[in-house]
Assembly symmetry: C2
């Protein structure tokens, strides 16, 4: 994806409303490098399987080496999006589709490439709408580790608040 | 869902292979009750938005009160499935669809109701296949907090290993 149509606001304090968003807008988040200890700590709490906990056991598994839980990749992706997308009212996901085309490995630097696919004002609630966003979580070699297409609730700009809001 | 066709193995040490699974089989996991501190700790690390971090701010938000990150609900769901489903080789998700019909609240007791929708042996790799599983994460009132339909890689029973494996 190119950076030709970013959806970052023009001032540091500005928040984005539905009115500011349109299909084709793109945003690349900051990055996070994760290490083996982080992978194991998340797995111990939420996904305690040998291939997420122990290098040796992981080497003999489906993954051929230590790999992060897919839900860990998803959680890091959320953190990068929350830190990077100044959507007014927050990033409120209603659900979507998720796949993990390749495992996340110790030392990988994750960065999320977001693109808005659709912007749809609500018919029944005039203060909000829904966007569909495609988010690719890539590592430092550009490999796609996670592909997430989500619907996100976004509010409309309140009357009287200007675009620099 | 009824418990008429569970897919728990018959002995405590037995592992389930693709050969043991068929559409319609169901399993109910153990449960986990989460509190406000857990919700805030997960959010501080992965989803630091006011409605996941602070009761007062949450009360004024879209959620009308403290709510867990959807990714926290997903992570707890994974833990309950990993602890409860003795699939040989582990629970290896390839991706799927996820929605959060209702927020997860402090004090909610989560339990996952799983049902196998499809079992498909791989054409190219005779040692494995893919199942499609629908997993409803419900609270103590039976409200569905998360609906997850995933594809999971499952291995076939190795030649020579008997069904009590």
């Amino acid at each position: 994806m190119s950076e030709t149509a970013p959806f970052t606001p023009t001032t540091a304090t500005a928040k984005l409303y539905l009115d500011d968003l349109q299909p084709g807008q793109r945003h690349v988040t900051g990055s996070h490098t994760l290490n083996a200890d982080e992978i194991k700590a998340f797995a111990a709490q939420f996904d305690p399987q040998p291939f997420h906990l122990d290098e040796e056991a992981a080497g003999r598994s489906f993954f051929g080496g230590l790999a992060a839980s897919g839900w860990h990749t998803a959680a890091i992706t959320m953190r990068l999006m929350v830190d990077g997308l100044p959507i007014a009212g927050g990033v409120i996901g209603a659900g979507g589709e998720i796949t993990w085309p390749a495992p996340t490995r110790p030392g990988d630097t994750l960065q999320v490439h977001c693109e808005i696919l659709e912007v749809r004002p609500s018919r029944s609630r005039p203060d909000r709408g829904m966007i569909t966003m495609r988010s690719e979580t890539r590592n430092q070699r550009g490999e796609v580790l996670q592909l997430l297409t989500t619907k996100v609730v976004v509010f409309r700009r309140p009357p009287g608040e200007n675009a620099e809001g």
